[in-house]
Each structure stands twice: as C-alpha cells, then as structure tokens.
C-alpha cells in the first residue's frame, strides 16, 4: 500500500481532530511526499517531543489507521538525530523541510 500526498493529508486531518493542543511532529520520507518531492511513501514516520509522546500514542490508537505508522522520540528518526533546534527551524506554511536530514516538520493543530 503506498500513500500519496492526498492520503497523507487525509490521515493527518484525522489525527489533527484528536489532538488537544499543538504538537510538532516530524515525518521522514513521508514528509517529502507531503511537499510533493516524492510521489508516495509506504509507511509514515513521526518524531514527537517526549512530553507529547504518550498523547500521540493514544491518538494513533484512536485513529487506528490501516497502514503502518512509526513513532520516534525527541528528534530521532530511525538511527538519525535531528539537530537540537529542529523545532525552531523556518517553516514552509504548516510544513517545514530540511534537505540535510531528508525530514520535514509538520505542525498540527495550529
């Protein structure tokens, strides 16, 4: 199952409805699909600040998507760590993009 930009936005829309406050998440190759650098992705990766991690796990269980979603802590994406100031990097609308780390930042619940 591959997810294109529309399907990703649909999924993020459903996640967004369940979040109670602003949470910054990072998506890996998924984010490139969101900004249409890649046509599609197979799974979804988020990295979530520690304080919001448990809430996000609960939201993931509530939304319960029919595809794979991987969650990482505090700027980690698999074995790579994002720079410490990753939450303050410039934004592109609601999407932030960093080619160095092949990662984007999506801010939900603005």
């Amino acid at each position: 199952m591959s997810l294109d930009n529309t399907k990703l936005l649909d999924f993020l829309g459903e996640v967004d409805k369940e979040l109670s406050h602003k949470i910054v998440v990072v998506v890996g190759g998924t984010a490139m699909t969101l900004v249409k650098v890649k046509p599609s992705t197979i799974d979804i990766d988020f990295t979530i600040p520690g304080e919001f991690y448990d809430e996000f796990v609960k939201v993931k269980k509530i939304v319960n998507p029919g595809f794979r979603v991987d969650l990482f802590h505090d700027g980690a994406v698999f074995t790579t760590m994002l720079p410490e100031d990753y939450l303050t990097l410039p934004t592109l609308g609601v999407l932030r993009f960093s080619q160095i780390y092949h990662s984007n930042f999506v801010i939900l619940n603005n």
Binding site: M1, L3, K7, D10, F11, G13, E14, K58, K61, I62, V63, N64, P65, G66, F67
Partner: protein, 323 residues
Amino acid sequence: MYGRAYYANIHEKIHVLTQDNIITLSKSGKSSLISLYFENYLLIDLLAEMELMRKQYFLKEKQEMQMLMMEIDTLLYNVSFIKSISLINPERNAKLNKTEIMFHMFPNKKDMEKTKIEINTIMASLQRIHNIRINYLILDDETFLDLLKLNESNTVKEMLHCKIATLHPQSFWMSIRGEILGGTMIIAEEHEIHPAKIAEEDLVFNLARFGYIEFGPKIKIGKPICIEYIISAIMFHNDARRMDAIPIILAKNKKTSYDLLLFLARRYNFEGKIFGIFKALRNLVHGMTNIDEPIRLLEAMKIEEIKANAKVMKEKLKLYNVT
C-alpha cells in the same frame, strides 16, 4: 437532492416531502420532529435510490475501492442468507485505508455459523489482495433490529446515519419498515462513541447496570451504553483491575451480542485477549453455551489466544455471585 443547504431551501423541501407523503412532521413545543412515512409504499424505493446515489458518489474516482467492492459483490452474491450489505462510515474509513462492512443476514440459526466462517475466509483473502484493513460485522435480522431498538448507544444505531447500503438496499430498509410499522420507534445516534472517550462516570454507571459494582466510585445516572462498548473501553485502557469486570458482566448478561463484540474486538485489536477470556469463562461458568460459537469463529480466524488468569477469574466470579 435538495439543492444548497440553506435554511430556506431545506424548509421548502421539507414541506414538499411532507406533501408527497415521504415524511411526516409532528410538533414538539416550538420544534417540528421529522419522521419517515413508512406507510408510503414508494418510500423504500426512494431510500434505496438514495443509497445507490450515495454509493455512486462515494466510489466515483476511487478506483481501488471500486475493485474491492466489485469483488465483494461478486464473491458474496451467492453466499446464503445475505439480506443486505452496507459500508460503515465509508468516507472516513477510506481516508485511513480501512473499510468496515455490515452483513445483514436473513434469520437462519442452523447454518449461520458456516456462513460466518465462509464470509471470514473471503474477507481475509480480500484483505491480503487489496492491502486494506477490512473489518466486518455479521448480524442476523433479529439481532440487527434488537440493537436498533435498544435504549442505549451502540454501533448499529450509530451507523444508521453514516452507512451506505451498497447491496440490496431495499431489503435493508424493508427490515426497518417492518419494525416501525409494528409500532417501534427507532432513533439513530448522530455521534460515534469511541471507547477511549467514554467518561469515567458513564463507565462506572454502565458497569453497575451490567452487574459489576466497584467499591469506591459513587454511581451517578449516566448515559446508557451497550455492554460491547463498555468491554471495548476496558480493553482500550488496559486497566488490570477493570479487566476483572469483563468475565463477570459477560456471565451476567445473556443478551450480549457476540457478533458485535467480535466486530469491536477486530476494530480495536483485542481479539486475542477476548479469546482468552471466552475460553476461561467456558470452563468456569456452567451453561454459557452462547460463547461456544464465538470461540469456534475465533479459532477459524486463527486468532492467537492471550491466556486469561483463570484462578483470579474464578475468585472474582465467586465474589460477584456468578459461580
């Protein structure tokens, strides 16, 4: 069908539909309550037409979903006892790469289990081929109508407003018509309950209603919610103390719909745990024959059992006067 949803347009359309004997208006204070007028023979055809229009609208430009639906219709067309097939909340589920289907069956207790296993095999195969999560609810006509009539929130009442009857929609509405003409009032629930969001006081109230009273929390009258949702809520929170309540309320409530419970177990991923509870319960409580079929269905689905602690369960069942 009614143009743009401005108040004036809707008001005008309501009066046209009333004149055409499609709906009836009854006064309740300053408000008007709208009901479908099932005495009108043509109403069923109009409702079926609406279902098919919604089906067309939903499937338009969804090629993958069209392929799946075509296979479902083809493979299940000849399966015995299917009265109608409906998609539950199709728009939202499609966004999440899921589909939820309700199989509404003609009553036939004798061969129903065989049909359920047949549907399960077909669904498992389609899930693999189409890479989509498929969850399904199989309900015989009697259980379907019983759930619609109950004065408590349940999945069937919730699905009425967000389902699309994709196969044999006339049969779907004929069942409801029969019940309404017999004098029953059916009220659809507008909002879906998620087990994770059931308020603590509603949980305590409903557990007490089903025969499990806890020491401590004060019981206040709350919103009546079906036993199947209450079990799902306990499973979702995974609270070890509350888990003890599940076998007790199952043993005390013979009217539990195990078909609905299995559907929710698939939806919220607790099939293994409920399987373990069913098996322990069968050994501990004499005469619980109603869990034999769900056990056989879970076995047929090759669900891996998560064993329940039978010793603790036995003590709790005794404490609550079940054994």
